[in-house]
């Protein structure tokens, strides 16, 4: 059932950010659900979500779970525009309320005590572009889904499987803005990974491939190239 998508006020957001240490036991226990409707905790975004999605997410730390969860989150939050997705207050609300149980199970361990503070700072908040894209428990999944759907609008799942097949591949693609930014190039890299499957599991081969893409692709305008020309260039980079 759909319900409004909320975000936090800046002051509630900043207060949470400052008090991670003193709130540690809330993070390791039941969280902040009782505050969901408090002033500053529920500013309407005008968008809707189905919060049930967060109940079925798999908290396991694996590429397979990240892939499934990315699709779940992106499909549930498709109405979010990229501009909305840059607002850390929205993601901080989700990780503290609607997606709290998933985020705690995925990133915190009660037995780790104060080591959890760093995990909370990274995964329950979204600091800067890297924090949104790589760290926030839910935002990172949304951006995975968004970038995959830009590359392959008709089949984002297949793009996600390739991008998330290893941490190394995600790092070399999504975390390199000048690759992930350029949809025709990233789409071509994914096609090449399908043709040359070894790129999906041979880390050294993939790294060398990406080094050549960077070295030879500097100054090339992939946006005016046909798919087959992009593929030809990329195949040249494997040799």
């Amino acid at each position: 059932m759909n319900c409004p998508l909320y975000y936090l006020s800046q002051s509630v957001h900043d207060d949470l950010e400052e008090k991670v240490e003193s709130n540690l036991e809330h993070y390791l226990d039941e969280g902040f659900k009782t505050k969901a409707g408090f002033p500053g905790w529920a500013i309407e975004s005008g968008l809707q979500i189905d919060p049930e999605v967060f109940l079925v997410m798999d908290p396991e730390s694996s590429a397979k779970a990240d892939c499934t969860n990315s699709l779940l989150v992106y499909n549930a939050l498709k109405s979010i525009s990229p501009a909305h997705a840059c607002d850390s207050r929205l993601w901080t609300r989700l990780t503290h309320i609607e997606a709290f149980d998933y985020s705690r199970a995925r990133w915190l361990k009660a037995e780790d005590g104060e080591k959890n503070i760093r995990q909370i700072e990274l995964h329950f908040f979204a600091k800067g572009r890297g924090g949104l894209r790589d760290d926030n428990s839910i935002a990172r999944l949304w951006w995975n889904g968004y970038i995959a759907s830009q590359c392959r609008p008709s089949n984002p799942e297949s793009a996600l499987k390739l991008i998330l097949s290893s941490a190394d591949i995600r790092t070399s693609t999504i975390e390199r803005p000048w690759i992930s930014f350029r949809t025709p190039l990233l789409a071509g890299i994914l096609r090449t990974m399908e043709h040359v499957e070894e790129l999906q599991y041979n880390r050294i081969l993939f790294r060398n491939f990406m080094k050549k893409v960077n070295a030879y692709g500097g100054g090339m305008v992939f946006e005016v190239m046909t798919e087959s020309d992009v593929d030809e260039f990329l195949e040249h980079c494997i040799k």
Partner: protein, 278 residues
Amino acid sequence: MKFRQDMLFGHPVLIREREDYLKGDFQLVFDNPVIEAPAMLIRVKPEVNSPDLSELIHEGKAVCGFYIICENTYFNRFIPVDLTENLFKFDAHDFAGAVRLRGVIVSRETIRGFQSRVLNPEFGERPDLPAASILALDDEQKFAVGQISKKPFESIFSLVADPSLPQGKVMVNPLAEKIQIYAHPGTKANIDEFRNTEAGRFVLLNAVYLPALMQLLHDVAGQREVYENKAWFAVFDAKCSALGVSLDNPKPLEDAQKLLLDPFMRLEEKTIKERLLS
């Protein structure tokens, strides 16, 4: 794989202040974007003052266009344009913060034996121009979208006590999520005291924040990749874009004054001046 003014190409590229061509100029003139929510309208007019490149465009061997890039939202598109005036409509929700525009002319195919009377002789008489390559590159132009550029500067700075510093000195650390201004605990206490009055805040703008921003502009110049994942960067970049401050080639004193809206003028306001000098 960014396109930069100082990039080295193996073929001639028409770029301002480079001498690949002895004559000629290329520019895309952008009107200020108009936001008519949910649309963002951009009017563009190319000025190609190079008969040789114009001919390649008319023959369909090259295309004129522009990149529109918003790093925060991963928006990066190449938009081809006619050589007349063009109006483009984008979805404003695809942008947040700094947006960059850069005009280019690109080869659609390999152009063999390119001829131009104004080509620098170092390229030989009839060089080949590779396919899908930049043939002309305009300066980058920037603007800002959304509320992010309107966030107060205070939201990206934090004041930190550091007993290792001598009293009266301040240092800037841009490597944290907020830009940290370090000061001796006694100095920090004094700064806090100044912050409690209107006149005191204007003094701090001039004595602490202006030099801190100058230092920051100096540090960031040409090294944005070191800082762009820091939480403060998106706000700072958007503010710079809104005011036309280049992070690649800043003028620290001039730009810091621009960003702080000429802070000395605050001290020149009659009531503030009287309070400070009485």
